[in-house]
């Protein structure tokens, strides 16, 4: 098993739960036992919870796993199922689970500059938290989930925050422009300066960042710059291995890769989705959670297990005191209607439809109603057209 985070831990557990009793070795590049990433941009960054609260393993849990932490896999010989590690040692296995997740994309040309952050790991979050303590002005580049959440948290900590987004509104990519606009007001109401349709050309400063330059020539002064510009799957170590790659490790609908005896799951994996007719990489918590058991079954059955149809992707995001929940694919919809509440009050539920058929639902502070809709979408079989 390569990758010691959510997907790795849950697949190891699922293997045990499905009766596998042989040795399981989990190799992880980070020094830490599996921990929960979502709070890194929210309660952990805010200081509301500590590191112990992030642990994914329950106290006293012992699923019989050998951990090899603080060392990365550097190469795979797929036909021989042999993994080479950064310390020069090798491991040979009957089955391999690839769960190496994704890494934050960095802004080009900011390598040597202090005060420029990305946020993916516990170490990133510690460094950002420490820097935020000293900073007055924060510029967040990128209005995806991580950018929007970091902006919200920094604002709640009383900092002066500017959020720079290249699209028409934060989260426009996943929520579609109409609903993203409705939510953009949230940031402005809380005092975050929002600049949309803007491209960053440069982070300025010598030794330490002192601001951000935009394509129109304007300059935004900053003590801390956070780049939330997406993540790329950690598949570099698989180059030339024989495992087929695309945007992530390409898998069938049960998580099997192009090589028998090797499965992939979590943020690094693009599973084939029959309803979409293509491979799709899901970068959300529940994606890893739902698919771990499927990947384990695929591995143990040698690929003959027939997976249940995948549930539509579900994710959540917390910004300020607002809980955002979303299920489905907004891109499939041709209409969006608000069915409950009012976007202006930041408590509403919107249904995305293709023709008559609901294909996605957005809930904003509507937890109970959202659960009903989620159930509806998850239990109604998806079909395209």
């Amino acid at each position: 098993m390569v990758g010691a985070s959510l997907a790795g831990l849950l697949t190891a557990r699922a293997l045990r739960g499905q009766g596998f009793q042989e040795r399981i070795v989990v190799v992880g590049a980070e020094r830490h036992r599996p921990y929960d990433r979502p709070p890194l941009s929210k309660d952990f960054l805010k200081g509301a919870i500590g590191e112990a609260d992030l642990a994914l393993e329950a106290e006293g849990e012992e699923p019989g796993i050998e951990w090899r932490l603080g060392v990365a896999a550097t190469a795979l010989d797929a036909p021989a199922r042999k993994i080479t590690l950064g310390d020069g040692t090798t491991l040979t296995a009957d089955g391999i689970v690839i769960a190496t997740g994704a890494a934050a994309r960095r802004l080009p040309g900011t390598g040597g500059l202090a005060g420029v952050h990305t946020l993916r790991t516990l170490d990133d979050a510690r460094a950002l938290r420490a820097d935020l303590e000293r900073a007055g002005r924060i510029v967040v580049i990128g209005g995806g989930f991580i950018g929007a959440e970091v902006a919200a948290t920094a604002r709640e900590l009383g900092r002066d925050v500017t959020l720079v987004e290249s699209g028409p509104a934060p989260l426009a990519g996943v929520l579609g422009p109409a609903m993203a606009h409705a939510l953009a007001g949230l940031h402005e109401r809380r005092g975050v300066r929002l600049i949309t349709g803007a491209h960053v050309t440069e982070v300025t400063g010598t030794g330490r960042a002192d601001g951000v330059r935009l394509a129109d020539g304007s300059h935004l002064p900053a003590d801390v710059v956070v780049a939330g510009i997406g993540a790329t799957p950690c598949t570099g170590w698989l180059a030339g291995s024989g495992v087929e790659l695309g945007d992530g490790v390409l898998c069938d609908e049960g998580g099997g890769t192009s090589v028998p005896g090797i499965v992939a799951v979590g943020d690094c994996a693009a599973w084939y989705e029959p309803a979409l007719g293509r491979h799709h990489r899901i970068e959300h918590w529940t994606g890893a959670r739902q698919r771990a058991a499927v990947a384990a079954a695929t591995l143990l059955s040698g690929g003959t297990a027939r997976p249940e149809p995948a549930r539509p992707p579900y994710f959540w995001s917390d910004q300020y005191d607002v809980k955002i929940q979303f299920i489905g694919h907004a891109g499939d919809a041709d209409t969006v209607t608000v069915e409950e509440g009012d976007p202006a009050t930041h408590s509403f539920l919107a249904v995305y439809r293709r023709g008559e058929r609901p294909v996605a639902v957005l809930g904003v502070n509507q937890v109970r109603l959202f659960t009903r809709w989620r159930r509806h979408l998850e239990t109604t079989p998806a079909h395209t057209g």
């Binding site: 959510l6 929960d36 309660d43 919870i49 994914l56 329950a58 529940t286 959670r289 109970r368 659960t371």
Partner: protein, 116 residues
């Protein structure tokens, strides 16, 4: 014993949240059984009465950990600790809850109102 509601007002498949401290959720399963557990998820501040009831389990509405209504045990992260279970009594078609005297497993940052 805390009176919850008339049995007739809690149909099968539904849940009710009691505003005691900490809040308690009462579930009426599709099979007709009644269970009571602490309403607050042990992971974060979510109301389990808003969750998805399936068989004898409720799935947390936020991050999908599932709790067994009979034992309070949780199946998988992000929640790690069980919820408290309470006894349910039906007398004269009224549902009552007998609160447990074990300490609750509240999520980080949530405290009893009496001791904020």
């Amino acid at each position: 014993m805390i009176p919850a509601c008339p049995l007739a007002s809690l149909p099968r498949g539904e849940a009710l949240r009691l505003d005691v401290d900490p809040p308690i959720a009462v579930f009426h399963t599709d099979d007709g059984d009644l269970y009571a557990i602490d309403d607050t998820c042990t992971h974060q501040d979510a109301s389990l009465a808003d969750g998805w009831l399936e068989g004898c389990e409720v799935e947390c509405p936020l991050h999908a950990s599932r709790f067994d209504l009979r034992t309070g045990q949780v199946d998988a992260p992000p929640a790690k600790r069980p919820v408290r279970t309470h006894r349910v009594v039906v007398e004269d078609d009224v549902v009552y809850v007998v609160p447990s005297d074990a300490p609750p497993n509240l999520p980080p940052g949530v405290t009893l109102k009496g001791q904020a």
